[in-house]
């Protein structure tokens, strides 16, 4: 079976400073995977490398078997950054339409997909509203709708819980679980360990650019009360060794 993401020996440095060192990682299809780490650990750098926004110094990344340098590898990726933003003169419908066109979706099919996505997040009444008139939460919902445009088999969400109210968080968890049931792979980059524990199948911890753990959440919970204790111990231990 082809892995949704396969990272082999990735190194990335900025000048003399290593941002990521020899990272190798596999994310199986149909799983919810979380990348954890402290601020500045290299999580966003890794996400950017997966999306080919950064060029690695060494190593390779494959998305569903296709090299990440090939633009077709992003055909099946839905990505939402921590703060979704787009040119604010677009309407919600217009922005989603733009993303759909860039994926080569036929107009009639695209129209259906957009209406379905807006309904999924209960923002169908915002369809014709300009993005500049939307609240932060509504804007984030438009971003989430974007994940449903096209046949995205891999969803990458950077800090998806940040800035969401409790209801928004609940809605997002339901959405992610539903996407998993549909066989999609979800790659999360998050700080909210309590939420990750509830929805993830696998986690990886990056600390100072080095991958220190890659394991199943179920295995972690055999020996630890929760993911937070596990995370704290691993990161602290590395700190002591150093």
């Amino acid at each position: 079976m082809i892995n949704a993401i396969e990272i082999v020996g990735i190194n990335k440095s900025y000048g003399d400073t290593f941002s990521l060192q020899n990272i190798s990682l596999k994310v199986e299809q149909g799983k919810i995977f979380a990348l954890l780490g402290l601020n500045g650990a290299g999580k966003t750098t890794l996400v950017k490398l997966i999306l080919n926004l950064l060029n690695p110094d060494q190593g390779s990344i494959k998305i569903n078997g296709i090299e990440s340098t090939d633009n077709l590898s992003r055909m099946g990726i839905g990505f939402i950054p921590e703060k979704f933003s787009f040119f604010n003169y677009y309407t919600a419908y217009g922005a989603l339409s733009f993303f759909g066109k860039m994926k080569g979706i036929e107009p009639a099919e695209l129209h259906t997909q957009i209406l379905k996505a807006l309904k999924e997040f209960n923002i169908d009444e915002l369809k014709n509203k300009k993005l500049k008139t939307l609240s932060k939460g509504q804007m984030q919902r438009v971003g989430l709708c974007h994940l449903l445009i096209g046949d995205n088999q891999l969803l990458i969400l950077d800090e998806p819980f940040s800035g969401l109210d409790p209801l928004g968080m609940r809605e997002l968890k339901v959405f992610l679980k539903k996407q998993k049931e549909l066989g999609k792979t979800i790659f999360l980059n998050s700080h909210v360990l309590s939420e990750m524990e509830l929805i993830c199948d696998e986690i990886a911890i990056i600390h100072k650019g080095i991958l220190i753990v890659n394991t199943a959440v179920s295995d972690v919970l055999i020996n630890y009360k929760n993911l937070e204790d596990f995370f704290a111990e691993k990161v602290t231990n590395i700190g002591r060794i150093e």
């Binding site: 926004l53 633009n71 992003r74 990726i77 950054p81 040119f87 066109k101 860039m102 080569g104």
Partner: protein, 272 residues
Amino acid sequence: MRATQYKTMILDTINKEIRSKMLLFIFIFSTLIILFSNGLVKMFFSSMNVGTNSPGNSGPLLLSMMFGFLNFWSVIISTIFGVNSIRSDFTQNIIYQYLAMPIKRSDYYFSRLIGTWIIVYTFYLYAYLASLILFSMATSSWVAHSGHLLSAIMMGLFIFLCILFSTLYSFFGNRMGALLLVGTSWLLITLSNSTFRDLPVKEYFVNFSLPRLLGMIIYTLLPRLGNISELANSFLFQKEITMNLWIEFSHLIITTSFLLWAGSYFIKKKDF
């Protein structure tokens, strides 16, 4: 799918630029300048009593001044819009949204370039036609001829090259830095053009010095913007063309292709 991506990105660029306050300012300012110049032309012709059916001897000079201003103005506009074309995607943190889609970086770059060119060139054509019509009305004679069309085509090329230079510089530094770099390049290209244009190749190395070498490199490796502008003027005023068009166009195609390749290479290698 690639054609759809290009179309979508070009329309997105036009949508972005057309809302620019700068464009509105430029549009109003240019219209005012054209109307003002038209008023001056009218005043000139009536006070000099040159006649109503012919632009007279001063007509070509006034027309030349008007189009000279228009060409200079189009360089400024091309530079501002060229620098802003891709930079605004960085500054608004939207570049990730674009490049996370299944589009080649070079396609993203070229479509932004084409979209910006369409906006600037449309503006140029508007100003050109407005000037032409108003000038014809002021002098009570239709001054347009086939050379105007060729001149406008040459200016289209000229504007494209200005935008291309500006987008290239916008990769390396902030907006002001890029504008300064474009300005410096202009100066160097103009100097090298005027130094080497009428010089036989064997005389390139006479009085050889480092600045002369730099000028020679610029003249050989970069598009000769001065020559394109001169060609546009020659068509406009139906002057005799002294340069070898085959050589000039071959040089233009090769050097422009090189710059397009360089832009595509830089954007491919850039970290976002």
